[in-house]
């Protein structure tokens, strides 16, 4: 049940953000399509083709979003995005080495450390700029806060994924349920952030 809810949670944001199709909206689409692909792979007992593609694309999309919103100066944005691309290349290289259809969870854990760092910097920026009196009205705060929780929860799970897979089944399922709940909350927070951005844009016009 939690699994299903987690898989369909991106649809909320996709429908709400239909009029304003930014990076986060494309990310939600991507999450949804990867979940569908995962179900197909399980149904037809295929290898996990989508895993590395998902991890890589998620990093590039989320990295781009944070780069665009944290750094205002062009050269800082270029520098940060170059770092994102470099890490992506490193990921591609290490995935190719172990076999591209084997999920590269250990290197993906590095991506989650970067996400945590991005979220902390973003929260600091929200604190410094104080654009919104009520933090719950700030799209950046909503997204960064929830993504921080999601990345913190997922980081250790990815790092020790192999150990978890080899362990007792019910414990792994319990932890995976935690991940699904976090994933659901993350997608719903993105939906909220997209709605708030839409409203802000309308007020500006």
């Amino acid at each position: 049940m939690i699994d299903l809810l987690s898989q369909f949670s991106p649809l909320v944001g996709i429908l709400l953000g239909w009029r304003r199709q930014g990076l986060l909206w494309y990310y939600l689409w991507f999450c949804f399509l990867c979940d569908v692909a995962a179900e197909i792979e399980v149904y037809f007992s295929l290898p996990k083709y989508h895993a590395n593609i998902f991890l890589l694309a998620e990093f590039i999309l989320i990295g781009s979003y944070f780069t665009k919103n944290i750094f205002k100066e062009r050269r800082h944005q270029v520098l940060c995005f170059s770092g994102v691309l470099l890490l992506s290349l490193f990921f591609i290289g290490s995935s190719a080495k172990q076999g591209f259809y084997t999920p590269n969870y250990t290197n993906a854990a590095v991506f989650y450390v970067i996400y945590i760092a991005f979220c902390m910097v973003s929260l600091r920026k929200v604190l410094n700029e104080i654009e919104h009196i009520k933090l719950e009205k700030s799209p950046m705060f909503i997204f960064s806060a929830m993504f921080l929780v999601y990345a913190s929860g997922t980081f250790l799970m990815l790092l020790f994924k192999l150990k978890l897979s080899a362990s007792v089944q019910h414990q792994m399922i319990a932890l995976w349920d935690v991940h699904n709940v976090l994933n659901m909350l993350k997608n719903l927070s993105i939906a909220r952030a997209v709605t708030l951005s839409l409203r802000l844009n309308q007020n500006v016009r």
Binding site: L123, L135, L148, S152, L156, K163, L164
Partner: protein, 263 residues
């Protein structure tokens, strides 16, 4: 089994840490916003007080002029009317005409004084330095306190009309306060340089105010004169400096923003 427990514990702790950070951000932001709002409210209150002081001062001045016109000029002109009526009844008696002439001369002088108080002609036509010299002479004539004015630099620049008027009124108000509240017997006015700025310095031998006491009195209820001084300082971009008292002398400096000196 223990590995899984440790991983689960690690995940739990990471989540708690993340939630803790978010909670801290929310609390900190609320505190900053509350502080900013308090500051904004304080500044707004201060602005209102200054404006009210300016309005009250204007009303007090109008009341004073109205009273002087009514009690002094009005009463004298009534006496003139009375004397003229008598002069018409007794044309052979020149005494009434003489008295009338004296009363009219006194009235003309009174009207001139009131007009001068409203807008000193010396300031308008001869500049700030001459106006301050004239002020010192007027106060000396009244005999309540000994006051002198010294121009220490010949190349003293004349500020624009608005700034000159502000400085003149500030000096007037400060000298009035010195006479009323400090028990001073002597006041020395000078135009001099202080740390590269052109300043009017008021020195007296009474009980003076330090900068801290000035700030405290400024925020007291009433204190219209000080609030007016504050208004004028802000409007004309002047600065008020309270140097440390030397021996028994207290000083206050009214400094202009940096002006080019004319040689």
């Amino acid at each position: 089994m223990s590995d899984n427990f440790l991983i689960s514990l690690g995940v739990g702790m990471m989540l708690l840490l993340a939630l803790g950070i978010i909670f801290f951000v929310i609390l900190y932001q609320r505190r900053v916003i509350n502080h900013q709002m308090e500051l904004r409210e304080f500044n707004r209150q201060k602005q209102i007080e200054l404006m009210q002081a300016a309005i009250r001062s204007e009303e007090d001045e109008r009341m004073r002029i109205a009273t002087e016109l009514h009690d002094d000029v009005g009463a004298t002109l009534s006496s003139v009317r009375l004397f003229l009526t008598q002069a018409a009844r007794y044309p052979n008696n020149p005494e009434y005409i003489t008295q009338t002439k004296e009363l009219l001369d006194s009235t003309i002088q009174k009207v001139r004084d009131i007009s001068h108080q409203l807008q000193p002609g010396t300031l308008q036509y001869l500049g700030l330095i001459k106006a301050l010299q004239s002020l010192a002479e007027t106060i000396n004539r009244a005999g309540t306190i000994q006051i002198d004015f010294v121009l220490q630099r010949k190349d003293w620049p004349e500020p624009d009309a608005q700034t000159s008027l502000s400085i003149y009124r500030i000096v007037q108000e400060l000298v009035n306060n010195i006479v009323k509240h400090t028990n001073a017997t002597f006041v020395h006015l000078s135009a001099q340089m202080h740390e590269g700025k052109h300043c009017i310095v008021i020195t007296h031998n009474g009980i003076g105010l330090s900068a801290k006491e000035y700030e405290m009195n400024l925020h007291k209820k009433g204190a219209i004169g000080l609030k007016n001084i504050e208004n004028r300082i802000k409007t004309a971009n002047l600065s008020l400096i309270f140097p440390n008292p030397a021996d028994t002398f207290y000083s206050i400096m009214i400094c202009l923003p940096n002006l080019p000196s004319t040689s």
